[in-house]
Amino acid sequence: MNIQDNYQKNKKNIFFSDNKDIQSHRDKLINIFETDRFDRKNNESLKNINLKKFIDFKYKYLVSAETSVINNNQDNSYSIVSVNGQCSSFKDDKIEITKILDKDYNDFSKNNTIEKNDHFVNLNSLFLNSGFKIVIKKNNNIKIKISNIVTDDNLTIFQKNNYICEEGSSLNLIEEYENKNNSTSNILNVINLENNSQLNHFLIQDNSSNHNLIITSHSSCKKDSNYTQKVYNFSEGYVRNFHYSELIEANSEADLQGIFFLKDNNTSNNKTFVKHLAEDCKSNQVYKGILNDRSKATYFSNTHVDQVAQKTEGYQLSKGILLSDNASYFSKPELKIYADDVKCSHGSTIGPIDENAIFYLRSRGMSKIAATKILISSFINEELSSIDNEQMSEIIQKKLVRYLSKVK
């Protein structure tokens, strides 16, 4: 079924389909789908992916009533269960959770950092059927844990979330994606950090092999704000992590990190993009990947420094370990720099586990497998040891052990 028909047929349970502005934006998107030649060579979002599967899909969506927000006042923490992308509304003096509004959609559709031909983001805007908005009120220090649950098989969830950290606030956000059913989640997170606010964002992805997860995020940082994102991808199914960050006012920081563990036939596409639009900003992009069996991964990183963004520091690092001779890894660490007083660099390595290190460990009586496992753990040790949340650290260690047990 083509996009147009699919959209018209399911219009009634798609958000904002009666808003004229939004409708005209969507008409443009449909037009992009109909005219685009799906040029895999030049479109980063299409590399290593069977796009047909995602474009010719069968739309199915269910609303569930089991959502919940639990507030634990003692340590300012909240547990949220989001079911099929929906979340119940909630309000107290620290946070406010609501549905997303037409205005949020319109504001975002004007942003041009994300490429026009990123078809997944376009699909998300077209078929939007869920999502919520969380506002952290001024000068509050909050912890939130969100469990993202998908209830049925064959669901197509197109979710758009808005996170707003008001001035001086601080949010520690942990998102879990652990689903076992045969569904597709296409999620777009729009994050706004006001002056002097901070967001530590953890994403733990551990879906089964038939669940597709497409996460795109766009954060914009105002003066003195700080956005840190850490992605841990243990999924056995397809995962796409595309994360964009805009540093729009002076002295803001973005730190985008990720680790992915792939095996079997799995594919993962990753991208980080930091746009420096103001002075004295810092950014850091670090992705590490471990690829086993016939898995494939891509990682695109990009630092864009605008002409006015003097005194910028922008660093990128990409590292990949190939454990099997059928695995493949593609990386494209890009720098686009228009200001002269900057310090920017990128480094990228891909290779096997160091044989000398294996030899060293084996000469001390360790088996080859044990040595390999130790070296994999040490490869990502820096990222794991920097997690200051004990509970998180434990969860990730457990998942790592599970992954390593399959390594031969």
């Binding site: 030049n42 190939l322 494209k332 720099i337 002269d340 480094g347």
Partner: protein, 483 residues
């Protein structure tokens, strides 16, 4: 930025193109535009056999179906292929002069202005020069000496006549005419270029060199160079370019193919100084060059060194296909852009064979309002066991209106291969400047010294004959009055 830096920048940008002059020679050319008749005209003029004409026409029919590659970070108006002369030869050149004294004195004068007097160079440098003036080889010196060793060094036109077997076997084997639109265009309309064949076991005793000059206005220059190094041989080839000042943009689409068989080594060095356009970005050469080397045999080696200072647009990716086991590919590049110049240059290393190694060192310097992009691809195919790559690309920005970009593509399909890539971008270090100034150097001298140090890794790879000129060029593009 302090006022001194601004002054220095001003001096840089006002530095006029020293080599901008026009030699007044009657040209004989076909009508403007590209069609089958043009190609037949070229083929007829060059007295080519039928199979060559067929080959050209086939490439032309491919070109008609192709579009220009658009992925480069370049901005330029659409090229009107019908507004270009595809063949331009100084009159009376159907009969080639036997020696230099028969060559038009004006031509010789042109080269003298460039500082490469043929007469002197013959004696002094011991370099055999194959001069391409627009489209026809002017003189090939030192031919006799090379012939004794069995080395063939002549224009490609001559090679088509005299060595059709080699041409048929190798022409288009590394860059197929249908590779992309510029290679198809070149294959259809190429007029001249060099042909080198080094026989088995021969080490070429001298550096072979060609100077290309674009002279006639609105003439696209389409050279085609083919170098074959047979088993166990060695050759070092130099190519230098300077072009006179013009207001109209001129198209230049060259193809260079290198083939290194078992144990052979080819070293290819370029100094490119085409007219870059004036301070307002008017005029200048459009340089769309395809250079590709094939390490076909075991233990073969191809090394590219380039110093790119000219051209309004540079689109150039000297590449290596590392097919033979243990073969080595190297790429050393300095690219300097000033005013409104745009450069998108880099390399492509394709590792196919076992134990293949490649090394990429790229230095980009952007000044004025220019855009300088490094674009490089390193790929390890499934069978490239134990392959190794090291890439380093550094950029230097002078002034806040220019841009420096790095776009590497890294693809590994082999788990025993190791890739390392690093890049950095920065401005000239204030501490270093301060240190130099403190020791009595002027600001310009200090900048020059630091930039020369920045490029040293690449410049030292150039053969002696070129090193002097290259350093001069770096100075001219950078230091204004200095150098």
């Amino acid at each position: 930025m302090n006022s001194e830096t601004l002054n220095t920048l001003d001096t840089y940008s006002k530095n006029k193109y020293k080599y901008g002059f026009v030699t007044d020679i009657d040209n004989e050319k076909p009508k403007k535009g590209l069609n089958e008749d043009t190609i037949k005209f070229i083929s007829l003029k060059k007295n080519e056999p039928d199979w060559m004409l067929e080959w050209r026409l086939k490439a032309f029919s491919k070109w008609k179906r192709m579009k220009e590659p658009k992925w480069a970070n370049l901005n330029f108006p659409e090229i009107d292929y019908q507004d270009i002369y595809y063949y331009s030869a100084p009159k009376g050149f159907e009969k080639k002069p036997k020696d230099l004294s028969e060559v038009d004195p004006k031509l010789i004068e042109t080269y003298n202005k460039l500082g490469i007097p043929l007469e002197e160079q013959k004696v002094l440098a011991g370099v055999a020069v194959d001069v391409v003036f627009d489209s026809v080889s002017v003189a090939t010196t030192y031919k006799g000496e090379l012939e004794k060793l069995g080395i063939i060094f002549c224009s490609i036109g001559e090679a088509i006549q005299k060595h059709p077997d080699l041409i048929k076997k190798y022409l288009g084997s590394v860059i197929p005419p249908g590779d992309h639109s510029f290679s198809a265009l070149n294959s259809a309309v190429f007029t001249d270029g060099s042909f080198v064949y080094i026989p088995e076991g021969v080490k070429c005793p001298m550096e072979l060199s060609t100077y290309f000059r674009i002279n006639a206005e609105n003439t696209g220059q389409f050279e085609r160079t083919l170098i074959i190094a047979d088993k166990g041989s060695y050759v070092s080839y130099l190519e230098g370019c300077t072009a006179p000042k013009r207001d109209d943009n001129q198209l230049h689409a060259a193809n260079v193919e290198l083939i290194a068989l078992e144990d052979a080594e080819i070293k290819y060095s370029t100094v490119q100084n085409w007219y870059p356009g004036d301070e307002d970005g008017k005029g200048g050469i459009y340089n769309f060059v395809t250079k590709r080397g094939l390490c076909a045999g075991k233990n073969s080696k191809i090394s590219w060194t380039q110093v790119e200072t000219g051209s309004a647009i540079t689109w150039k990716y000297p590449s290596c296909i590392l097919k033979g086991e243990n073969s080595i590919g190297e790429f050393y590049s300095v690219a300097i852009t000033n005013n409104f110049q745009q450069a998108d240059t880099g390399t492509k290393m394709t590792h196919i064979g076992k134990n293949t190694k490649s090394k990429i060192i790229s230095k980009g310097i952007s000044l004025g309002k220019s855009q300088n992009t490094y674009r490089g691809e390193v790929s390890f195919l499934r069978k490239a066991d134990k392959a190794r790559n090291y890439t380093q690309c550094d950029s230097l920005l002078v002034g806040n209106k220019c841009g420096a970009h790095t776009v590497p593509y890294i693809d590994s399909k082999n788990n025993t291969a190791v890739i390392e890539h690093e890049a950095s971008t920065s401005k000239i270090n204030e501490d270093q400047l301060y240190y130099c100034r403190q020791r009595g150097l002027s600001h310009e001298e200090a900048v020059s010294l630091i930039v020369n140090g920045f490029c040293k890794q690449v410049l030292q790879e150039l053969p002696m004959e070129f090193a002097v000129e290259a350093q001069k060029l770096v100075s001219i593009s950078l230091e204004g009055s200095v150098g």
